[in-house]
């Protein structure tokens, strides 16, 4: 008898968890998939690929969109369809998806991109990306993964950090890094990122 309330609570929690998953799936299908693709493997260069992205990063970006710290007109209609309570479920969903490889557009830039990623530029003070974003570009709890990202999207973000149009980076660190990057370096490093599985 003493166990009955406990079992009831467990059952209720299981139902809630199931409901949360169902909500997440419905949100993904109705609000995210059209741009970010099936399982977050977007096929359109302007929309970021989210499959396998670090959950902490996705959650931070979604909350920054909701609070207006990060602005994006294309995201605006979808932002009206979910709330803070949905964020962790969406982040967990995308983190759990398997990333499919993409084909980089320009193989000639890969070597220069890898050199910048691994070693930075000591002349201009660009730190090596690998320091934070990790070998293989997978990121971690604190820094986003970059592997397999669309070159077009990654380049746009770097240019926006460089200009300050995107300003939701922690302590202005990415703005400081991007400000030191040349357009050629941006073009090269994003090709290398795209080539990472």
């Amino acid at each position: 008898m003493c166990c009955a309330p406990g079992l009831g609570l467990l059952f209720a929690l299981a139902v809630m968890a199931g409901a949360a998953r169902a909500d997440t799936a419905a949100l993904v299908a109705s609000q995210c998939m059209a741009c970010h693709g099936d399982g977050g493997n977007s096929v359109v260069p302007m929309f970021p690929r989210l499959a396998g992205q670090q959950a902490q990063y996705v959650a931070k970006q979604l909350r920054d969109f909701l609070t207006g710290k990060r602005k994006n007109e294309v995201m605006a209609p979808s932002l009206a369809q979910f709330k803070d309570a949905d964020v962790d479920g969406l982040a967990a969903y995308y983190a759990a998806q398997k990333r499919t490889p993409i084909t980089p557009g320009n193989d000639k830039l890969l070597a220069a991109g890898k050199a910048l990623y691994d070693d930075g530029n000591t002349q201009s003070g660009v730190p090596a990306c690998v320091g934070c974003h990790q070998p293989e570009g997978l990121g971690n709890d604190r820094y986003p993964g970059l592997a397999g990202q669309h070159p077009g999207y990654a380049a746009t973000q770097l240019q926006q950090f460089k200009s300050g149009a995107r300003n939701n980076d922690r302590a202005k660190v990415m703005r400081a890094v991007a400000a030191r990057m040349s357009d050629d370096e941006i073009a090269a490093v994003v090709e290398f990122l795209a080539s990472l599985p």
Partner: protein, 233 residues
């Protein structure tokens, strides 16, 4: 007004002392010494907070991620001298330099954004220092040409050893850095910066010493230092 004039006079005096300065050393930008003349290693502000904090090396390893894009994994720096080795450095020295850079006492525009107050708290700085000081400093640091080592040893033993120690181990209690294991080109660059009044947070005693040395002297001394056994004497 009188106070302000006195401060200006004191600043001028300090500048005059660092004789060969072509550009004046930076004023502290909103830092601990923002209110007046430069006092080497004044014990105040967040440096004291960080020195008094209990540094956690495990946390420091994580916080150091943002630094290793330049200082490299295991904080070995780069043999081309663009970034110093930090592995095995004294906690006191690391805390002093980090807080000096972000207070503007040490001029370093390359590093400044990455040690900003929004990036690292005084506790974070203590954690990073606790992590770095335990890292090994292997004998693979950048070396000089090896062409004038006798001269380098003579200069080092005459002018440098009283502070930096026979083995280049520095002195944690005095905030004097460990130099063994450091990259030749980095040491040479910093010596020239100090001599030319460009580093900003130099010990006036050291400025006096390096002012008497020419470039060839400094190259020889840095070369000798770069060949001292690394690690913990």
């Amino acid at each position: 007004m009188i106070i302000r004039r006195a401060i200006s006079a004191a600043c001028l005096l300090v500048w005059a002392v660092s004789a060969s300065a072509q550009t004046p050393p930076p004023k502290a930008a909103g830092g601990d010494a923002a209110d007046g003349a430069y006092v080497w290693n004044a014990m105040q502000g967040e440096k004291l907070v960080a020195l008094g904090a209990r540094g956690d090396a495990a946390r420091g390893e994580i916080t150091f991620e943002i630094c290793q894009g330049c200082h490299r994994t295991h904080a070995l720096g780069r043999p081309d001298g663009s970034y110093p080795r930090l592995a095995g450095q004294h906690i006191t020295v690391l805390i002093k330099q980090m807080t000096d850079v972000r207070a503007g006492r040490r001029r370093n525009d390359v590093m400044l954004p990455f040690i900003d107050k929004h990036v690292a708290s005084p506790q974070d700085i203590a954690d990073i220092a606790a992590y770095l000081t335990k890292l090994p400093s292997p004998p693979n640091n950048g070396r000089g040409p090896g062409s004038d080592l006798a001269r380098g040893q003579k200069i080092y033993e005459a002018d440098c050893v009283s502070c930096h120690g026979q083995g280049g181990q520095g002195d944690a209690a005095q905030f004097y850095p460990r130099l063994n294991g450091q990259h030749y080109k980095y040491m040479l660059h910093e010596m020239i910066q100090i001599r030319n009044g460009m580093r900003g947070n130099s010990n006036p005693r050291m400025v006096e010493v390096v002012k008497t040395l020419n470039d060839a002297d400094l190259e020889a001394a840095a070369d000798y230092l770069s060949r001292l056994p690394t690690g913990q004497p």
